[in-house]
Subunit: 157 residues, 2 copies
């Protein structure tokens, strides 16, 4: 996959390390990154925190944040990205949380809604997306977008 | 994927939860499990601990175990499986660690060597495999075998 290769080339050139916190993608983003030979040089870990408990206990997401904003929110995405970066000791932490369907959607939070975030140590930014298609299509688009955000963060350093 | 569906059906029926610790598969096993709608009912987390530091700091693998046996060993696979189970609070913890290549192989530990382990709360068992093919083929076979071991553990409960 060209995007994962580009992430690898840029991370290697800039000597930056990456950690992920994945919810909706279930590990797919980490799997794409590690398809590239030599990825162990810059990829430290991905925390696939599918349950709310895992988001809190593993990544340090605040219970109050989940209760106030929901697990699928910009705030939770930001705390996931920062948690991954801090716990893995990485230069860049990036995350995604969303609703893959077919269940779980609502008018306010439809199926396909995904929040992504990146913490590069200077600031934490999040992004809201609504992807189309079935569960697999939504997961894939979220994983690709997560890699694009990681690449953007690496390039801007 | 039929295997992931079978894992889901069995976990739901037996009301058992699953956590993974993935090294060589990079998140692929978690991604396969979460391709199934409703997987959030039984899949809690996957710890994709690619670096040795992540294996120690996140999963509690002992430094002495890595130094004595290497990161690709039955002992480390067992500690990864137990760590995933304990930290996520899951009924079953399962892990894999291996050498996907093209670099990193040796006569004693060839490319394709993978250790997998399962902790079901009663015992921790490990298995040694040598898979053939390129990096992607080795990752895929390891992920499938990991799911098979999870299914076996669910069925035997």
């Amino acid at each position: 996959m060209d995007l994962a290769k580009e992430v690898g080339k840029t991370a290697s050139k800039k000597r930056r390390t990456i950690a992920l916190a994945e919810s909706i993608t279930g590990g797919l983003a980490g799997s794409l990154i590690t398809d590239i030979p030599g990825s162990s040089d810059y990829f430290l870990a991905s925390f696939v925190t599918y349950s709310n408990d895992a988001k809190m206990n593993v990544l340090g997401v605040e219970r109050a944040t989940i209760e106030k904003h929901g697990a699928v929110s910009a705030q939770v995405a930001k705390e996931m990205a920062s948690g991954a970066r801090r716990i893995a000791g990485a230069d860049i932490g990036a995350s995604c949380t969303g609703i893959a369907g077919p269940g779980g959607g609502s008018e306010k939070k439809p199926i396909g809604l995904v929040f992504l975030a990146v913490d590069d140590g200077k600031s934490v930014r999040s992004e809201r997306k609504v992807f189309c298609g079935d569960r697999w299509a939504i997961k894939s688009q979220a994983a690709v977008r997560l890699l694009e955000l990681v690449l953007k963060a690496l390039q801007s350093e």
